[in-house]
């Protein structure tokens, strides 16, 4: 997704920002860290780095460099976005961060979107978080994804062609693997 959008953006005034959530990293994925990661990817653009620098120098003097609060980050992100014609924010596996962080992140995104019409947000996750998204955004366009048979076939072919033990593989085994997996996935 990120690559598709980047290819299309091709040097225009468009920023594509990505974030991956992960069950295994819930602790580090605080709201501030997630917003910080979004801002980091916008920081290379324009003069926004100056603002961040100022905040950094200030924080350094106060209590040994404590981090920014989510509300501060939201304000800087809003500013960073102003100079761009379009910003795509892609967040993968939103269902994998804690409900509290998810809620705060969604609220922050809502706040950012409020000031600018040039933002597009792409979220992926399991269907059950849709209600939470609705709560923050009111409206959601949903694309339900299920594995297409053709997709599974091409993926299996790719994986089989990369098999690291070619001597254990023959046409019959290859056909068996394809057949069984396709059968099972069609029952999903």
């Amino acid at each position: 997704m990120i690559d598709r959008l980047c290819d299309r953006a091709g040097g225009k005034d468009i920023a594509v920002v990505g974030l991956y959530c992960d069950f295994l990293a819930q602790q580090e994925q605080s709201t501030a860290n997630m917003l910080g990661a979004i801002l980091k990817q916008l920081a290379s653009r324009g003069s926004i780095l100056k603002d961040i620098q100022v905040a950094f120098q200030k924080a350094r003097k106060e209590y040994g460099g404590r981090g920014l609060q989510p509300s501060d980050l939201v304000e800087i992100i809003k500013k960073a976005i102003k100079s761009l014609s379009r910003v795509f924010i892609c967040i993968d596996a939103l269902d994998e961060c804690t409900p509290q962080h998810r809620q705060e992140l969604l609220q922050s995104l809502r706040e950012i979107v409020r000031v600018s019409r040039n933002i597009r947000i792409f979220l992926t996750g399991r269907p059950h978080i849709e209600n939470e998204i609705m709560k923050s955004f009111g409206k959601v366009v949903r694309i339900p994804l299920s594995p297409a048979r053709g997709d599974i076939e091409s993926y299996l072919k790719m994986r089989l062609s990369r098999d690291t033990d070619p001597y254990a593989m023959d046409d019959e085994l290859r056909a068996d693997i394809m057949r069984v997996i396709l059968e099972r996935t069609s029952e999903m």
Binding site: I52, T124, V141, I143, L145, P147
Partner: protein, 101 residues
């Protein structure tokens, strides 16, 4: 000096990479510029690294049908401000949400 700090200085010039994808704990090198310090301070998460892993394991054609829908095109291309802001791609674990290209 607090013990935590001692441990950190003992690790200078080492690559402390934790097991999860987004998080690089203490990536200290000689090119530790102020800009790098500031970005680390903003957030320790490194989504670009995870993105590289995703790219490597991906088959580009997969899920194209989902991104050729009108819903997607409208969301990504429409510029008159009337388009919906948020697109939610949902599905069970393992259906390939992460690997859409």
């Amino acid at each position: 000096m607090p013990p935590g700090h001692q441990m950190a200085t003992g690790n200078v010039n080492s690559f402390n990479v934790s097991t999860n994808h987004n998080y690089i704990v203490n990536f200290v090198t000689e090119i530790d510029t102020e800009e790098h310090q500031i970005l680390q301070w903003l957030s320790p998460l490194e989504p670009q690294r995870r993105h590289q892993d995703v790219r490597t394991g991906r088959l580009d054609s997969i899920g194209n049908w989902a991104l050729e829908t009108d819903k997607f095109k409208e969301w990504s291309d429409r510029e008159d401000g009337c388009a919906e802001t948020l697109l939610f791609c949902c599905g069970s674990p393992g259906v390939g949400k992460t690997y859409l290209r």
